[in-house]
């Protein structure tokens, strides 16, 4: 395993932290998308609200899923 010479920490551990940090930020973005979709479907109702809300929630679940998988397998 590659380690940083002076600190003795694995490079991949640092990479994992960065990946997880990025995925947390992405999860927040997915939350914003859900909220924005809610606001927009309130602004405009055309009879297609459920599929769009479902899409935004699916995206949020996907983001959470990738974060959990990264947390477990990395």
């Amino acid at each position: 395993m590659t380690t940083i010479p002076l600190l003795g920490i694995s490079v991949w551990l640092i990479a994992k932290i960065f990946v997880l940090l990025g995925l947390v930020i992405y999860f927040v973005f997915a939350l914003v998308v859900v909220r924005q979709v809610q606001l927009m479907t309130d602004t405009l109702e055309v009879g297609f609200e459920f599929p769009i809300r479902a899409l935004s929630w699916a995206h949020l679940v996907f983001a959470a899923g990738v974060f959990l998988i990264a947390l477990v397998i990395l």
Binding site: W12, A15, V19, G22, L23, Y26, F29, A30, V32, V33, Q36, V37, L39, M40, D42, T43, L44, E45, V46, G47, F48, I52, L55, S56, H59, F62, A63, V66, I69, A70, I73, L74
Partner: protein, 223 residues
Amino acid sequence: MPDIFISEESKKEDLKPEPHLSEKSKSKVQKEKFPGSTHNPLSAFCYYPGNINFETKESKEKVVLLLRQHPITNVKWILIAFLMILAPIVLGAFPILSFLPPDFQFIAVLIWYLVTTAFVIQSFLTWFFNVYIVTDERIVDIDFYSLIYKEVSDANIDKIQDVTYKMGGVVRTLFNYGDVLIQTASEVPNFDFLAVPKPDQVAKILQDLRIEEEQEKLEGRIR
């Protein structure tokens, strides 16, 4: 023999407009069929859609037209999304991520698909929520610039000063879509209905509504 004297009362009666004329013309306009107009929520040209509701809509207000950009404008992002979906499969044949451990390679692919999903959602929502609404009282422009920024502006029909429509180019002529540029005397001076289907018919509908509104003004039937 010509009448020498006509009483003031009969003169007034002559000048009186037909009371239900505008209602008649309204229903006539409603009955007109525009080919390609449906009530499908994903349609780009909905004429008298029954089930539309928006935030600032008044109870008596009737939505005459709901417009979006022509569906053909979505082709670009659909193609990009398709390539993004295929990219990990195609690039799997080349050892681009081989410097990463297998776990990281797997997560990289998942993150790639996450980004692809975000791109698809953002592109679709931008098209879906970027709508132009024409009611019997005003025009409303709902702009959904990105996932975190939206803008809603409206102007009364009687504030419309000029309507211009533009159609040009091979694709636009082929699929019959273009821009309708509306100049108003309201706070927002320009309303641009960009890449909407049948711009000529949109301009005609706006013209009819302006005449209707002027007639209502003359008859003193302003809401």
